[in-house]
Protein backbone atom coordinates (compact mmCIF):
# COMPACT_ATOMS: atom_id res chain seq x y z
CA UNK A 1 0.00 0.00 0.00
CA UNK A 2 1.74 3.15 -1.24
CA UNK A 3 1.77 6.00 1.20
CA UNK A 4 1.81 9.69 0.36
CA UNK A 5 4.54 10.43 -2.16
CA UNK A 6 6.03 13.83 -2.92
CA UNK A 7 8.43 15.15 -5.51
CA UNK A 8 10.99 16.53 -5.76
CA UNK A 9 12.63 15.81 -2.42
CA UNK A 10 15.01 18.75 -2.58
CA UNK A 11 15.29 21.79 -4.80
CA UNK A 12 17.01 25.16 -4.91
CA UNK A 13 15.43 28.20 -6.53
CA UNK A 14 16.36 31.85 -6.96
CA UNK A 15 14.32 34.73 -5.58
CA UNK A 16 11.56 35.72 -7.98
CA UNK A 17 11.34 32.31 -9.61
CA UNK A 18 8.36 29.99 -9.56
CA UNK A 19 8.21 26.44 -8.20
CA UNK A 20 5.83 23.50 -8.56
CA UNK A 21 5.70 20.69 -6.01
CA UNK A 22 3.81 17.46 -6.56
CA UNK A 23 1.94 15.03 -4.35
CA UNK A 24 0.24 11.67 -4.82
CA UNK A 25 -2.13 10.76 -1.98
CA UNK A 26 -2.24 7.49 -0.11
CA UNK A 27 -4.23 4.83 -1.91
CA UNK A 28 -7.96 5.30 -1.25
CA UNK A 29 -7.63 8.92 -0.14
CA UNK A 30 -9.35 11.76 -1.97
CA UNK A 31 -8.40 14.90 -0.04
CA UNK A 32 -5.02 16.60 -0.12
CA UNK A 33 -3.71 19.31 2.18
CA UNK A 34 -0.47 21.26 1.96
CA UNK A 35 1.56 22.51 4.90
CA UNK A 36 4.66 24.66 5.20
CA UNK A 37 7.14 23.80 7.95
CA UNK A 38 9.82 26.41 8.56
CA UNK A 39 12.91 25.43 10.50
CA UNK A 40 12.15 25.00 14.20
CA UNK A 41 8.40 25.40 13.79
CA UNK A 42 5.35 23.24 13.47
CA UNK A 43 3.59 22.76 10.13
CA UNK A 44 1.40 25.66 9.00
CA UNK A 45 -1.73 24.92 6.95
CA UNK A 46 -1.67 26.35 3.43
CA UNK A 47 -4.81 24.88 1.84
CA UNK A 48 -6.88 21.76 1.31
CA UNK A 49 -8.18 20.34 -1.95
CA UNK A 50 -11.19 18.07 -2.38
CA UNK A 51 -13.10 17.26 -5.56
CA UNK A 52 -10.57 19.33 -7.50
CA UNK A 53 -11.49 22.50 -5.59
CA UNK A 54 -9.79 24.50 -2.87
CA UNK A 55 -11.97 23.94 0.21
CA UNK A 56 -10.05 25.68 2.98
CA UNK A 57 -7.18 28.12 2.99
CA UNK A 58 -4.77 29.22 5.67
CA UNK A 59 -3.12 32.59 6.06
CA UNK A 60 -0.93 32.47 2.96
CA UNK A 61 -0.74 35.02 0.13
CA UNK A 62 -2.11 34.46 -3.36
CA UNK A 63 1.42 33.63 -4.52
CA UNK A 64 0.59 30.18 -3.18
CA UNK A 65 -1.81 28.29 -5.41
CA UNK A 66 -2.67 24.71 -6.04
CA UNK A 67 -4.49 22.21 -8.12
CA UNK A 68 -6.02 18.80 -7.68
CA UNK A 69 -6.34 16.40 -10.59
CA UNK A 70 -9.08 13.81 -11.28
CA UNK A 71 -6.80 11.06 -9.94
CA UNK A 72 -6.63 13.03 -6.62
CA UNK A 73 -2.98 13.97 -7.02
CA UNK A 74 -2.11 17.58 -6.35
CA UNK A 75 0.34 20.35 -7.13
CA UNK A 76 1.46 23.30 -5.05
CA UNK A 77 2.68 26.33 -6.98
CA UNK A 78 4.53 29.24 -5.47
CA UNK A 79 5.20 32.34 -7.58
CA UNK A 80 7.65 35.19 -7.05
CA UNK A 81 9.67 33.25 -4.52
CA UNK A 82 11.00 35.03 -1.45
CA UNK A 83 13.86 33.99 0.82
CA UNK A 84 11.25 33.41 3.53
CA UNK A 85 9.60 30.72 1.43
CA UNK A 86 12.50 28.41 2.22
CA UNK A 87 10.94 25.53 4.16
CA UNK A 88 9.86 21.92 4.14
CA UNK A 89 6.59 21.61 2.22
CA UNK A 90 4.45 18.72 3.41
CA UNK A 91 1.55 17.10 1.65
CA UNK A 92 -1.06 15.23 3.67
CA UNK A 93 -3.91 13.08 2.41
CA UNK A 94 -7.14 11.93 3.96
CA UNK A 95 -10.35 10.04 3.26
CA UNK A 96 -13.37 12.33 3.04
CA UNK A 97 -15.84 9.57 3.93
CA UNK A 98 -14.41 7.48 6.72
CA UNK A 99 -11.24 9.17 7.84
CA UNK A 100 -10.39 12.03 10.11
CA UNK A 101 -6.70 11.19 10.23
CA UNK A 102 -4.36 12.78 7.72
CA UNK A 103 -1.16 11.06 6.67
CA UNK A 104 1.93 12.95 5.59
CA UNK A 105 4.50 12.46 2.89
CA UNK A 106 8.24 12.89 3.40
CA UNK A 107 8.10 16.47 2.17
CA UNK A 108 9.88 18.64 -0.36
CA UNK A 109 12.76 20.78 0.89
CA UNK A 110 12.75 24.13 -0.86
CA UNK A 111 15.70 26.50 -0.54
CA UNK A 112 15.38 29.98 -2.02
CA UNK A 113 18.67 31.80 -2.60
Amino acid sequence: DAGVTQSPTHLIKTRGQQVTLRCSPKSGHDTVSWYQQALGQGPQFIFQYYEEEERQRGNFPDRFSGHQFPNYSSELNVNALLLGDSALYLCASGDSISGNTIYFGEGSWLTVV
Binding site: V4, Q6, T31, S33, Y35, G40, Q41, G42, P43, Q44, F45, Q48, R55, Q56, G58, L90, A92, S93, G94, D95, S96, G99, N100, T101, I102, Y103, F104, G105, E106, G107, W109
Partner: protein
Protein backbone atom coordinates in the same frame (compact mmCIF):
# COMPACT_ATOMS: atom_id res chain seq x y z
CA UNK B 1 -10.02 29.88 16.03
CA UNK B 2 -7.99 26.95 17.19
CA UNK B 3 -4.58 26.79 18.80
CA UNK B 4 -2.15 24.36 20.38
CA UNK B 5 0.54 24.94 22.98
CA UNK B 6 3.41 22.60 23.70
CA UNK B 7 4.95 24.27 26.75
CA UNK B 8 8.22 22.34 26.70
CA UNK B 9 10.70 22.74 23.85
CA UNK B 10 12.72 19.81 25.18
CA UNK B 11 12.04 16.77 27.34
CA UNK B 12 14.87 14.55 28.59
CA UNK B 13 14.29 11.13 30.14
CA UNK B 14 16.38 8.09 30.92
CA UNK B 15 15.73 4.86 29.04
CA UNK B 16 13.22 2.71 30.88
CA UNK B 17 11.62 5.64 32.69
CA UNK B 18 8.11 6.89 31.92
CA UNK B 19 7.79 9.89 29.64
CA UNK B 20 5.21 12.65 29.25
CA UNK B 21 5.04 15.26 26.49
CA UNK B 22 2.54 17.99 27.26
CA UNK B 23 -0.07 19.58 25.02
CA UNK B 24 -2.89 22.01 25.68
CA UNK B 25 -5.39 23.19 23.12
CA UNK B 26 -8.05 25.74 22.39
CA UNK B 27 -10.92 25.12 19.99
CA UNK B 28 -14.44 26.49 19.61
CA UNK B 29 -16.25 23.19 19.14
CA UNK B 30 -15.48 19.60 19.94
CA UNK B 31 -11.76 18.91 19.67
CA UNK B 32 -10.20 16.36 17.35
CA UNK B 33 -6.70 15.81 18.71
CA UNK B 34 -3.66 14.14 17.18
CA UNK B 35 -0.05 13.33 17.96
CA UNK B 36 2.59 12.99 15.26
CA UNK B 37 6.31 12.17 15.44
CA UNK B 38 9.01 13.53 13.14
CA UNK B 39 12.46 12.04 12.74
CA UNK B 40 15.30 14.19 11.33
CA UNK B 41 14.76 15.25 7.74
CA UNK B 42 11.58 13.19 7.48
CA UNK B 43 7.84 13.81 7.24
CA UNK B 44 5.37 13.41 10.08
CA UNK B 45 4.22 9.98 11.21
CA UNK B 46 0.81 9.54 12.82
CA UNK B 47 0.90 8.16 16.38
CA UNK B 48 -2.61 8.40 17.78
CA UNK B 49 -5.81 10.43 17.89
CA UNK B 50 -8.72 11.34 20.12
CA UNK B 51 -12.09 11.78 18.44
CA UNK B 52 -14.59 10.67 21.05
CA UNK B 53 -15.03 8.00 23.69
CA UNK B 54 -12.47 6.86 26.24
CA UNK B 55 -10.22 9.59 27.54
CA UNK B 56 -7.18 7.31 27.34
CA UNK B 57 -6.25 6.45 23.77
CA UNK B 58 -3.58 4.02 22.71
CA UNK B 59 -1.45 4.36 19.62
CA UNK B 60 1.61 3.14 17.81
CA UNK B 61 4.91 2.06 19.41
CA UNK B 62 3.43 1.81 22.91
CA UNK B 63 2.42 5.45 23.13
CA UNK B 64 -0.82 6.58 24.72
CA UNK B 65 -2.44 9.93 25.39
CA UNK B 66 -4.89 11.19 27.97
CA UNK B 67 -7.64 13.62 26.99
CA UNK B 68 -8.72 15.97 29.78
CA UNK B 69 -11.59 18.21 28.75
CA UNK B 70 -11.64 20.36 31.88
CA UNK B 71 -7.91 21.13 31.56
CA UNK B 72 -8.05 21.22 27.74
CA UNK B 73 -5.03 18.97 27.63
CA UNK B 74 -3.94 15.96 25.59
CA UNK B 75 -0.64 14.77 27.05
CA UNK B 76 1.36 12.05 25.31
CA UNK B 77 2.72 9.28 27.54
CA UNK B 78 4.72 6.09 27.44
CA UNK B 79 5.36 3.84 30.45
CA UNK B 80 8.93 2.93 29.51
CA UNK B 81 10.98 5.08 27.14
CA UNK B 82 13.37 3.71 24.51
CA UNK B 83 16.39 5.45 23.03
CA UNK B 84 14.71 5.02 19.63
CA UNK B 85 11.81 7.22 20.85
CA UNK B 86 14.12 10.24 20.59
CA UNK B 87 12.49 12.53 18.02
CA UNK B 88 10.38 15.66 17.55
CA UNK B 89 6.75 15.33 18.64
CA UNK B 90 3.86 17.47 17.45
CA UNK B 91 0.39 17.84 18.88
CA UNK B 92 -2.39 18.98 16.52
CA UNK B 93 -6.04 19.97 16.84
CA UNK B 94 -9.01 20.32 14.51
CA UNK B 95 -12.54 21.48 15.20
CA UNK B 96 -14.11 19.51 12.36
CA UNK B 97 -14.15 15.74 11.85
CA UNK B 98 -13.18 15.86 8.19
CA UNK B 99 -9.63 16.10 6.97
CA UNK B 100 -9.47 19.87 6.91
CA UNK B 101 -7.22 22.43 8.55
CA UNK B 102 -5.15 21.09 11.43
CA UNK B 103 -3.33 23.46 13.75
CA UNK B 104 -0.01 22.21 15.08
CA UNK B 105 2.07 23.13 18.08
CA UNK B 106 5.72 24.11 17.69
CA UNK B 107 6.90 20.68 18.72
CA UNK B 108 8.74 19.10 21.63
CA UNK B 109 12.11 17.42 21.20
CA UNK B 110 12.26 14.22 23.20
CA UNK B 111 15.69 12.87 24.08
CA UNK B 112 15.96 9.47 25.72
CA UNK B 113 19.39 8.75 27.18
CA UNK B 114 20.73 5.22 27.69
Amino acid sequence: AQSVAQPEDQVNVAEGNPLTVKCTYSVSGNPYLFWYVQYPNRGLQFLLKYITGDNLVKGSYGFEAEFNKSQTSFHLKKPSALVSDSALYFCAVRDLPDAGKSTFGDGTTLTVKP
